[in-house]
């Protein structure tokens, strides 16, 4: 309540250069403020003029990637060609005939509200003549975490590097949850890397605000390998815990450099979780058997113990393994929260996280950002073929 309402909106930060209303109201629009109803005098509406002004701020350059959902271009500021941006042009989709695409609506709604060093910045939005949406995003030229994880030969990294990357991811997801947003598609190739080594969470095409009590949500979100058991069992009420499970699996993958639980199907995914983590039962997760699609292989496996985790993830150290285990607790109500993650003793224990400018990096990121930004949310790379539709469409809601 300390906010005084009787102020102009703050001068727009460079992030939101579009916020010019207060200025406009003082000065008129370029001295050409319409006197009466603007249309009757043939002048464009204010909204259109503002859009045009926004569009003029950027120059679109070469294409970085082309997909069914979006094309991604390199761009720069007209006034300052050294300031690079990525322009994601959302395509009009033939198969989606109901106006602005759901992914774009979600991405815009949430990215417009969220501003954090570890979350990709939406610098501006404008429309081009053909009514295509253009999202101006910060340019992240160093690829993504998946690229680093996969290049086992070319990229070497250690516990301190993992801690630095995990720290940035954990802060990003804490910030989302603090703002009541579920990301619902955390995975290594949605974690892009800025020129200075900062990790940025991208792709909010599946994100949504926390639901109201009793209001159901779809369980068909999060790319399969990173999907928590409650969603695989069809839970319709869930929390930030779904994202934490994904964060845990990114952590595991960073350590062992291969996806930890990589099922071919949803059933396969459940089976692998039962092997790798333990079988969800009424004992370790009261109520689980009531979830609509609960089905687990017989006989149940006990919850994997600390020693087994230490065997596989020992590089992360005692505290690191403790944190990983807390992220992979089957019962979402007992799983560690984003805030608790940040309070975990691992961060303060040795080794200290690597400074971001010293983190390992890899060339070839420009193509990668093109790949990453044009992708539909919720799918695995090797499934990008024709048979896989996006995991979430409005029809299922």
């Amino acid at each position: 309540m300390a906010v005084s309402p009787l102020v102009f909106p703050p001068a727009p930060a460079d992030k939101n250069a579009g916020a010019k209303l207060s200025k406009l109201s003082n000065q008129g629009f370029n001295g050409a403020a319409p006197e009466g109803p603007s249309a009757s005098s043939g002048t464009r509406d204010l909204a259109e003029q503002m859009n045009e002004e926004e569009k003029q701020k950027y120059v679109k350059g070469k294409k970085l990637g082309e997909g069914t959902y979006a094309n991604v271009y390199l761009g720069h500021l007209r006034d300052d060609p050294k300031r690079l941006v990525a322009i994601k042009k959302i395509k009009i989709q033939k198969e989606y005939t109901e106006g602005m695409a759901p992914d774009a609506v979600r991405e815009l709604k949430h990215l417009q509200e969220i501003s954090h060093p570890n979350i990709i910045s939406l610098l501006s939005v404008f429309s081009s003549k053909d009514q295509n949406l253009n999202l101006v995003l910060e340019y992240l030229p160093l690829g993504d975490l998946e690229m680093l994880i996969k290049d086992v030969e070319g990229v070497r990294y250690g516990a301190a590097d993992i801690k630095a990357w995990m720290g940035m991811l954990s802060r990003a997801i804490w910030f989302c949850h603090e703002n009541f947003v579920l990301h619902r598609d955390i995975k290594p190739n949605n974690l892009l890397i800025a020129a200075d080594g900062e990790v940025k969470l991208a792709d909010f095409g599946l994100a949504r605000s926390f639901s109201d009590p009793y209001r159901i949500m779809t369980s068909n979100v999060i790319t399969r390998w990173y999907r928590p058991p409650e969603l695989l069992f069809g839970a319709k009420h869930y929390s930030g815990a779904v994202d934490i499970w994904s964060v845990g699996l990114v952590f595991a993958e960073l350590v062992i450099r291969t996806p930890y639980i990589a099922g071919d199907t949803e059933v396969g995914q459940v089976n692998l979780i039962c092997q790798a983590v333990g079988t969800p039962t009424e004992e370790n997760w009261p109520g689980v058997s009531k979830l609509p699609e609960y089905a687990v292989p017989d006989p149940p496996n006990p919850i994997r113990g600390r020693d087994q985790y230490l065997g596989t993830f020992g590089t992360a150290g005692q505290e690191g393994v403790d944190l990983l285990m807390a992220m992979l607790i089957l019962d979402p109500r007992k799983r560690i929260t984003a805030r608790e993650v940040l309070q975990h003793p691992w961060w303060a224990s040795e080794p200290k996280p690597t400074r971001k400018q010293d983190l390992p990096r890899k060339e070839g990121g420009a193509e990668k950002i093109g790949e990453d930004l044009k992708r539909r949310p919720g799918i695995l790379d090797d499934e990008r073929g024709a048979k896989v539709a996006r995991k979430l469409d409005f029809g299922k809601m």
Binding site: P5, T97, V388, G395
Partner: protein, 328 residues
């Protein structure tokens, strides 16, 4: 992160908050006669929205309708009513709010149901609308804030939260809070949407101002408990007075009128009737078509069966079966 810090990062604060003067100036710039007609359009929108969602739960329909209304109000700050007719923008705003508020409604059904409207009509101004909204779709409402304050007040009434100098005994206070809750909600559902308070005040201020109208003694005591120190207490109270005097300019009981509204009511009723039955099935078919995967239909059948069994099971649950529509 405090509530205030969070709110100051929102587009509602950064893009859509004005002083009364700057807002008036903008509207003049856009269209001298805008304000009155916007109110008219908004009145109709509210009615249509409320009617069309009468069967859904209170908070749900509250926020969807309220969001559509704010879209219209924001849109007409920079777009002229002379250029764009409110009825077409209104349909589009209602439809678009179903997308942004996670309450999606198939476009063809939406258009069919309201009649005399093609999907193209609804979509025709969608892009225009989003441009007028400057591609910011998040609207912060005071509804949840009210529920929170009421929960706290009830807990104070029954002693779960200790409160010094309580001027009422528990049961009496409980009754007061309940009455104030109902009355305040009426103001939030009507007055708050039809006036400009969203442009000038934060959601919590709007909520508190509605409680101030509903029960001045209760609210004054509550603010005193939360903010015992001056000058903050007095400053806040002055802001709430300002806000409540704007709210009072449109009483919840005032009835909108006009042919447009009648027509919309009729459309909304039709829309409502067409809404639920078989929706899930159509959606399933559509999905199967889109994914074009063999066995998808079988999967869908199996899923429906599971869902039937599930709702049979959950019928015995404490809270009844889960809703099966509108998930997102």
């Amino acid at each position: 992160m405090s509530e205030d810090e969070r709110y100051r990062t929102s587009t509602q604060y950064r893009y859509w908050s004005y002083t009364p003067d700057s807002l008036a100036e903008l509207r003049t710039t856009t269209n001298r006669i805008a304000a009155d007609r916007v109110r008219e359009a908004v009145q109709s929108a509210r009615e249509a929205a409320v009617v069309s969602s009468a069967e859904t739960s209170e908070t749900e329909n509250g926020s969807r309708a309220a969001t559509a209304i704010q879209y219209i109000k924001r849109f007409y700050i920079t777009n002229s009513l002379m250029t764009y007719h409110p009825t077409s923008i209104l349909k589009t705003a209602l439809f678009f709010a179903t997308k942004t508020e996670n309450h999606y409604f198939r476009l063809t059904k939406f258009a069919d149901a309201i009649g005399k409207t093609t999907p193209e009509d609804v979509l025709a101004s969608e892009f225009l609308l989003t441009q007028g909204l400057r591609f910011t779709f998040d609207v912060r409402h005071p509804f949840r804030a009210l529920e929170g304050a009421v929960m706290e007040l009830q807990a104070m009434a029954n002693g779960q939260i200790p409160a010094a100098d309580k001027p009422w005994e528990g049961r009496e206070m409980g009754k007061r809070v309940k009455d104030a809750h109902g009355k305040a909600r009426e103001y939030l559902k009507t007055s708050a949407l039809l006036t400009d308070v969203y442009f000038h005040f934060t959601p919590s201020q709007i909520m508190m101002a509605s409680l101030l109208i509903a029960d001045p003694d209760l609210l004054t005591w509550y603010i005193g408990v939360k903010l015992p120190a001056e000058p903050m207490r007095e400053k806040v109270m002055m802001t709430l007075e300002d806000c409540s005097s704007i709210l009072r300019t449109v009483e919840p009981t005032s009835q909108p009128s006009g042919d447009e509204l009648k027509e919309l009511k009729r459309l909304a009723k039709k829309l409502n009737k067409c809404r639920n039955p078989e929706k899930m099935d159509l959606v399933g078919l559509q999905r199967a078509k889109r994914e074009g995967e063999d066995g998808e239909e079988e999967k869908a059948i199996k899923k429906r069966k599971l869902e039937r069994e599930k709702s049979a099971r959950e019928g015995d649950d404490l809270f009844g079966p889960a809703l099966t529509k509108n998930e997102s």
